[in-house]
Amino acid sequence: MSAVVRALRPPLGVLPELPGAAYLLALLAAGFSLASPDFLSPRNLGNVGLQAAALIIVSLGMTLVILTEGIDLSLGAVLGLCGVVFSLLLVSQGSLPLALGAALLIGLAAGCANGGLVAYAGMPPFIVTLGVYGMAQSIAMVLTGGNSVTGLPESVRWFNEGVWLGVPVPILAMAALFALTWVLLYRTRFGRYVFAIGGNRRALELAGVPVRAWLVAIYAYAGLLAAAASFIMTARMNAAHPTIGIGLEFDAIAAVILGGTSFEKGRGGLWGTLVGALAVAVLRNGLNLIGLSTEWQVAVVGLVIVGAVALDALRGRT
């Protein structure tokens, strides 16, 4: 094994400090455009962008959480629950602001529960968020009886099909939330603490920073972003299904890791996540185009994430 590590290190060291996702994205794009003439068509690339929008939004929150050496396995299930509540309220009450507000509140509450248990109780993040995953999933199933919520008003489709200033709404929403998260992460105290909590939490605590409260805010922000992504997902399906988000947290974790954000010491950043999410979206889209079934995609994406983390771990060795 160590021989493999030695053999791999020189070529990996020569490469510039780009996230692995950039190479993967270039490789995938080249491969798929050779394998399928449809891949580079404007229509297909537009599709990739639309499909990637919800994933990128969820991945933004996941990046912040992972930068603090945490993880949020509940985001997919929370997204599903938000979509269900949003749709149920919209169908029964007919009020868009009420439905939007309730869904955002659920995302916020789930995030606060995650963050509170991680920060104040000192529980491992993966176990907290796994528990919340089960609870959110169960509530979504109970609310819908396991069925889809249909009969949404036409106006909801605007979240997916609408165009504003010549740009599709999902892309616009994604860009706006990316910009917001970028400013938060790189231009505010919130962002500096995100990196510092991952880098050296103890030092931050000794400096008198209320680290716990900031941790809750980070998980809460991730929950809010999941709620925002649920509007786009619901509009795309024109229905809400309780299990729609299951597995999305996995794609988001893949995007973050491919983007070069590490589970240790607060290394990484948002641009890497953007490229990583695009790589995951292109991978799924390309596998579709060349006719590989959804079943295979699950296994392939799983292999890619493990491979990416393994490379990252091997490269980080001294």
């Binding site: 000192g122 529980m123 609870m135 169960s138 296994a299 983390v309 393994a310 771990a313």
Partner: protein, 317 residues
């Protein structure tokens, strides 16, 4: 390691006390709520359910004792169930049994290599394996269901021996074997040592990487073994088999008092945790609560059990 041992009595007392109180409250509540609860027939149902849950959580317990986690146990169980079912339904029982154990061993070895040699955090390596195994299960089954196994094979899941369900006997034997392995072998002591302090364990001469690969491999094999009992019991397998078992298995381990930080706990606790979970599920059925709530109950139990232990540890330290 020494700190872990000194901490042990208070922690064990706390776990034993809270769990006994929980079981007692549950039994009284259910006995009052339903006249069917305290019947022999229902007790046999509870015991069999507990045994199945114990089989799924047993391997995970060993991994958690080293301070690791195996999020792929449910998915490995599902994949092993699918492969075994395809062979066994065609009459190839021995080959099917070997395939289930082989699938579990292969997945477990990959997990162990990723954690011990490559150095990936356990929760992320096994989370990747979760999706790889699920994906392969889907590919293998193509959405179909395999059912109808030979009666001889079905006996290990649905049969009785002297009035006792076979899975209960299988679970009891496994409990005994793993308890002996944990407390009377070098491998078992190494698991506790690694969970207590991995650096100290290595310095005392324990080959920590080899032990870690071994424990993840064992967890995989036990998941494959549990898959056999599960499909023998349900007489069917599809690609969704095992999907909901992860939370249940983690709940059984946490309820059993095994610390997620490693080094503290044991297999007997997991058996008790499984029994509690079986009582909860049985009670929910008795009280007519929809099965859709079960995932909620499992999630809440995991969080409450870990919360109780973490806050107790904090107050005592």
């Amino acid at each position: 390691m020494i700190a872990a041992v000194q901490r042990l009595p208070a922690e064990v007392l706390f776990v034993v006390f809270t769990r006994t109180a929980f079981v007692a409250a549950l039994v009284v509540l259910l006995a009052v709520a339903s006249p069917h609860f305290l019947t022999t027939d229902n007790m046999i149902i509870v015991l069999r359910q507990a045994a199945l849950q114990f089989l799924m959580a047993a391997g995970l317990t060993l991994v958690v004792l080293t301070g690791g986690i195996d999020l792929s146990v449910g998915a490995i169980l599902g994949l092993a169930a699918c492969v075994a079912a395809a062979l066994i339904a065609n009459g190839l029982v021995v080959l099917g049994v070997l395939a289930a154990l082989g699938v579990g061993l292969a997945c477990g070895l990959v997990n162990g290599a990723l954690v011990a040699w490559v150095g990936i955090p356990a929760f992320i390596a096994t989370y990747g394996m979760l999706w790889v195994a699920h994906g392969l299960g889907y590919v293998f089954m193509k959405g179909e269901v395999i059912h109808g196994f030979p009666a001889g094979f079905r006996a290990i899941g649905a049969g009785f021996l002297g009035g006792i369900p076979v899975p209960v006997l299988v679970g009891a034997v496994l409990l005994l074997v793993l308890h002996v392995v944990l407390h009377f072998t070098r491998f078992g002591r190494a698991l506790y040592a690694i969970g207590g302090n991995p650096v100290a364990a290595r310095l005392t001469g324990i080959r920590t990487r080899r032990v870690l690969v071994g424990v993840y491999a064992l967890s995989g094999v036990l998941a494959g073994f549990a898959a056999l009992v599960v499909i023998a019991r349900t007489n069917a397998a599809d690609s969704g088999t095992g999907e909901e078992l992860l939370l249940t298995a983690i709940a059984a381990v946490c309820l059993g008092g095994t610390s997620l930080f490693g080094g503290v706990g044991g297999i007997v606790g997991t058996a008790i945790g499984s029994l509690i979970l079986a009582l909860v599920v049985n009670g929910m059925n008795m009280l007519g609560i929809a099965t859709l709530w079960q995932a909620f109950a499992m999630g809440a139990i995991v969080i409450l059990a870990v919360l109780a232990d973490v806050s107790f540890k904090r107050r005592s330290s």
